[in-house]
């Protein structure tokens, strides 16, 4: 019994973080966390010691998140959300070259906009992205946790990443961090700055 609570305690912050980043509301996150922990506690006899405790917990948590968001997930999405972009399409956008030239600087300039951009993703895309990028689960583990086919995980990841990057890029463009339509021959941010100082675009 104590082992089980110890395991929970060890990972409680990452569980809570995943719920919070999925639900995006502290009150709701508290409710889902509480309900998940108690459901796990109630079903602890079903957990096989020695197997992956994190993945087992994430399965419970993900189900609880789905249930908690079931009302909103039924709500039809606005039309602009229906069209999805693939990762490959994004790589073809010339202005994305600015981003890839200095990813750290780009992220630093975007600041908390990353969290805002995450809210624009669908629930499934957000979960896949969090499980992969933040929690480092394999595709197979994510498929098991979310109870979806592996191919679907890859689709969610691809589209989620593309959408996240597009949102960040739009923000960066609005802030002048990335040029709205960078000319193909000027791809490095440094070059853009030098070009500006030299009056080429001024």
């Amino acid at each position: 019994m104590d082992d089980f609570i110890e395991q929970l305690e060890k990972h409680k912050d990452e569980f809570y973080r995943y719920i919070y980043r999925t639900a995006w509301n502290a009150q709701k996150a508290d409710d889902i966390f509480q309900s998940s922990v108690l459901a796990a506690w109630e079903n602890r006899h079903k957990f096989t010691p020695g197997t992956n405790f994190r993945a087992w917990m994430y399965r419970i948590i993900t189900n609880k998140c789905y249930v908690a968001n079931r009302v909103t997930s039924r709500t039809p999405k606005p039309l602009e959300d229906v069209r999805e972009t693939d990762f490959a399409e994004l790589n073809e956008a010339p202005e994305y070259g600015d981003v890839l030239n200095d990813p750290d600087r780009f992220l630093e300039a975007c600041g908390d906009e990353v969290f805002q951009a995450m809210t624009e993703l669908s629930e499934a895309q957000r979960m896949c992205l969090l499980l992969r990028s933040a929690e480092k689960f394999s595709y197979k583990e994510i498929a098991d946790i979310m109870n979806i086919p592996l191919g679907t995980v890859m689709t969610h990841l691809s589209r989620g990443r593309a959408k996240l990057r597009r949102e960040l890029m739009a923000y960066a463009q609005s802030q002048g961090i990335v040029r709205p339509s960078a000319p193909r021959n000027i791809t490095r941010l440094e070059d853009v700055r030098q070009a500006e100082q030299g009056g080429l675009h001024g």
Partner: protein, 301 residues
């Protein structure tokens, strides 16, 4: 190679999900420019992952409360109860319990209404209710609860301090509202603290599946009393002991709700408070504004 296939490989490579052989083959197929992009993508992905990992942690108070609950009360499983009930239902069916099959809709699954029967403490009751329904408790303010009801197609007025109850010497307090755990029907629950014991009012529209579930529950004795108001049905659920001792008194719990028309009529008799109410006669009353469920979610959580 198809574009989508290439993209999948690209992403799997980025995530380190290819086998050593696949990774080597893919790596060999990359141009210099593609390799540069891939390295930058990895860097970007790592940066995003780091951002998503920081800053948020479980509130200490929440964890302490949960830990205390887990340590103090190893929770009893509900399965034995359900298994027993299911076995009883199966026996009834085998014995030709045609009653249960009179109407497939009236014979709600046992689980549906069993979740509505209050358990021992108010906290436990609310927690179980919310957990099973995956719902959030809407706070007990009159306007908030009315808006919540309205968003679920129930247009009834809420009175969170009924005079009848105050005068009866019993203490009753509205604790909030939430959706009931009835997959086949829409039922809204008002949770009430009645003399320190949990009670509920189940509300549904007449002639809908939710109403049939409530009626079925009444036949089985899980709902102790039913009352019809306007186009709605209200079912009262209280602990069995309370229901036995105070059959008449508990009926006053229905006073937590009343038809909208009654409220308007009552308000018309109170000129001093007319500023806070609709000035239109009941018949001309403006149809209540319908809120989208999504908006309700936002405003209540």
């Amino acid at each position: 190679m198809k574009k989508s296939e290439r993209e999948k490989q690209w992403m799997a490579y980025l995530d380190g999900q290819l086998t050593a052989g696949e990774a080597a083959a893919f790596d060999a197929s990359l141009s210099e420019e593609e390799r540069r992009c891939l390295v930058a993508e990895m860097q970007l992905e790592e940066g995003i992952g780091e951002r998503l990992r920081d800053d948020v942690s479980c509130p200490d108070a929440l964890w302490d409360a949960l830990r205390k609950e887990m340590n103090a009360t190893p929770r009893a499983r509900r399965w034995p109860m359900f298994t027993g009930m299911a076995a009883a239902a199966a026996l009834a069916l085998i014995a030709g319990g045609a009653l249960l099959y009179r109407s497939a809709e009236v014979a709600a699954p046992l689980q549906e209404v069993a979740s509505a029967v209050p358990t021992q403490t108010i906290a436990e009751d609310i927690r179980t209710t919310l957990e099973m329904a995956g719902a959030t408790l809407v706070p007990a303010q009159q306007q908030t609860v009315e808006e919540f009801l309205e968003a679920h197609d129930i247009r009834l007025a809420v009175n969170n301090e009924p005079r009848s109850l105050t005068m009866s010497g019993h203490k009753a307090k509205l604790l909030g509202a939430c959706m009931g755990n009835c997959p086949r029907g829409s039922i809204v629950e008002l949770l009430i603290d009645y003399d320190g014991k949990p009670a509920k009012l189940l509300l549904a529209k007449n002639n809908c599946s939710g109403a049939r579930i409530i009626e079925g529950a009444q036949e089985r004795g899980e709902v102790v009393q039913v009352r019809h108001m306007d186009d709605y049905i209200a079912g009262l659920v209280v602990c069995r002991r309370i229901a036995k001792e105070n059959a008449d008194q508990v009926a006053m719990l229905f006073d937590f709700i009343r038809p909208l028309t009654e409220r308007v009529a009552a308000q018309e008799l109170l000129p001093a408070r007319r500023d806070s109410i609709s000035m239109q006669p009941p018949g001309a009353r403006e149809a209540p504004r319908r809120l989208s469920t999504q908006r309700m979610e936002k405003s209540f959580v």
